[in-house]
């Protein structure tokens, strides 16, 4: 029951993030949408790993742990590149 509820929430989060990623043009908004999209995938994985009475499955936990770090690094790289683009355009 809890697995279904939380897994469904993960799918909804992914759909919301995808919609916002396609609709908005500014960089920071796209980054927020991308992060929420990734959070939906992580949420689904964690919900799958939860197994009621048994202790949870560790492999999806490790995957999500790596994914969080990669997502933040990608965000920082995108912000730095956007800043460089702004400076090259010279305030347009």
């Amino acid at each position: 029951m809890a697995q279904l509820l939380y897994g469904g929430a993960g799918v909804v989060l992914f759909a919301l993030g995808l919609w916002a990623f396609l609709v908005y043009t500014p960089l920071l908004r796209k980054l927020i949408a991308l992060n929420i999209m990734g959070s939906g995938v992580f949420h689904l994985l964690i919900a799958i790993a939860e197994r009621g009475e048994l202790p949870p499955d560790p492999v999806p936990h490790a995957l999500v742990l790596t994914g969080i770090v990669v997502a933040v690094s990608a965000t920082a790289l995108a912000l730095a590149m956007g800043r460089r683009l702004e400076e090259d355009e010279g305030g347009r």
Binding site: L16, L28, L31
Partner: protein, 96 residues
């Protein structure tokens, strides 16, 4: 008794999580969107602690919400400053 309480807890948690995501995505002000994103990260860490994944919740709270939120906050205030320097319309979208 405990199962019913836990189900109520789950429902409140999931509803508010999705509501926070919607609010962060459609908010017109960029800095408000970033702060709602930080709150979203905190809430996500809480949900993962509920799903018995404390290690992942720790990483999300420290890295996802803390570091990512601080990075985005700095970027948003740069955007707001540029917009007020340019006057009126914001290059990054959203009003200053």
């Amino acid at each position: 008794m405990t199962a019913g309480l836990l189900l109520l807890f789950d429902l409140v948690l999931v509803t508010t999580l999705v509501g926070l995501a919607i609010a962060a995505l459609i908010s017109p002000d960029l800095r408000r969107a970033v702060m709602l994103f930080i709150a979203f990260g905190l809430w996500l860490a809480l949900v993962w602690a509920r799903l018995r994944a404390p290690d992942v919740a720790l990483a999300e709270a420290a890295i996802g919400a803390g570091l990512g939120g601080a990075l985005m906050l700095a970027a948003a205030r740069r955007a707001a400053r540029r917009a007020s320097a340019n006057g009126g319309i914001d290059a990054e979208g959203g009003e200053a």
